[in-house]
Point group: C2
Chain length 346, copies 2
Amino acid sequence: MINASCPIPISQFDKVTLAHGGGGKLSQQLVQNIIFHYLGNDILNVGHDGAMFEISGKRLAFTTDSYVVQPIFFAGGDIGELAVNGTVNDLVCCGAKPLYLSLAFILEEGFLLQDFEKVVISIKNAANKANVKIVTGDTKVVDRGKGDQIFINTSGIGIIDDDLHISPTNAQTGDVIIVNGNIADHGITIMSTRAGLEFETQITSDTAALNGLMQHVFETTKNIHVLRDPTRGGLASSLNEIAQASSKGITIFEDKIPLIEETKAACELLGFDPLYVANEGKILVFVPENEAAKILEVMQQHPLGTNAAIIGKVTSENTGMVRLKTQIGSHRIVDMISGEQLPRIC
Amino acid sequence: MINASCPIPISQFDKVTLAHGGGGKLSQQLVQNIIFHYLGNDILNVGHDGAMFEISGKRLAFTTDSYVVQPIFFAGGDIGELAVNGTVNDLVCCGAKPLYLSLAFILEEGFLLQDFEKVVISIKNAANKANVKIVTGDTKVVDRGKGDQIFINTSGIGIIDDDLHISPTNAQTGDVIIVNGNIADHGITIMSTRAGLEFETQITSDTAALNGLMQHVFETTKNIHVLRDPTRGGLASSLNEIAQASSKGITIFEDKIPLIEETKAACELLGFDPLYVANEGKILVFVPENEAAKILEVMQQHPLGTNAAIIGKVTSENTGMVRLKTQIGSHRIVDMISGEQLPRIC
């Protein structure tokens, strides 16, 4: 009966695999073939980081994310801080000023109340820093062995600036792509913690709320086409999604992408391509070339944008594809990741 | 350090227990001593089913719930339908017209995609029936043994009718309490499924979206003081919360509370008090006595209110307490449940 009503094959799998949550091709298939297939509507189909709709003449953004990162405490942050910052950033990527968050916990029986308290304090501090209010919540408990310490869902509401019109479908030929700093630090922090690795200089998660930084950018210009925070699946997956949604090509320049030496070395050691490693405090900004210099300047003056750089451009050829111009001048295709690279990274 | 900053003792437990999620005293303690203690603000502190705030002159309601019910498929519904209806009902209890829902899945590795598809179809049908749109979502996957098939979070946004002023603090002496039908069916359905029991007449979950029913009530009168859906912890816990929030007493009449024979028998067999058993399609309506008759009539004409009844009243004495007038005319105190009665019921 079910199959009869669903003509689209759900790839070769009949069970959920970790790769379905990795932010790559299998995630995309699951979302397209089941979720969008049944639940699609004009708002959901935009495929943005958040929904955008109008209520009594005001455009609002609304977004949700669950956080299942393991370990829950890591260098530079924890699951609580991530849950606030991640949802704040999804609102920012809609061009919204984040206002209110919901907060829902799924706790595993046996989770230490002291650790729970630490997470809640971290949520409080992150919410204060991002200037958002936690306004509603829920707490559920599941039996031991049916959860993993703590899972958090935050949903968020923000007001979209009347003059901002941001959409993943809106990348335009000639746009330049700016990123606000070093990539891959979050994912590498998590993976090196899991692997028990220690580096001479400690790499820390870049988790941060970007509404403060982006407020300065929004005050500088409203002429912004696309915003995206490259979390799960990293820079490569986000750029592929935008190239596909906009039917444009994207070229990025290897030597322009900010990446600290320690993270680069750790990526080599662990066998990861930094382009696919998750970030939690980075944003990709697509703007017309003539806006780029002043945005870059504004970003670099902010603590969360010190290492901001122009890393690529939008082209009319190679539509739907991302190409990397390597340091030696050759080009290679940067495909969407097919399976999981880093499960439970956020 | 943590303890130094938290002078409130977290009861006698140092770990999360199933009872912390049961909707009773321990749940309340956890929420008060940790969540409200750190995150409290003017909106959160209202302690409503949802947050209420104004955006550009319009009052909005915003709510969140995670659903961890086990088994995920049960007589009369499934986790997907529950996730839509429960969040719709929380918005209704704020006096809001539900508009938009978010939808976040935490899937366990190994969960059958066919079952996932069934749940998504059920969400689609429930959303259509309740006339709400799913507008944004998220899907995470956790390793086998770190989740339990599927957890769902839905958050929701609705617009509050300008003339409705509903709050759990708003119960007034002389108010009568109406419920829209038979209690305890949802909890007993889940528990008898878990216990492997079969009854001659099958009891089914009452899961339903109540915005259609309540729209008729809102059109009848705006003079409504409190609305509450008695889910986790059942009728008794919801009434206790309202008695405490309003600093009023509540008296309910045992012989007026709608309860089908099969559910009553199953409660006796399983050792549960139906007053504490969860409902997923019931609403408590507190109104001045002179409004009650017409509301009751309107409710009884709707399929989800056929068995609506006046079950109690608000008193100025016995503040903060709920008293049951039994069928033989004596009174007993109906306390808040202290631990879990039915874990993972929603």
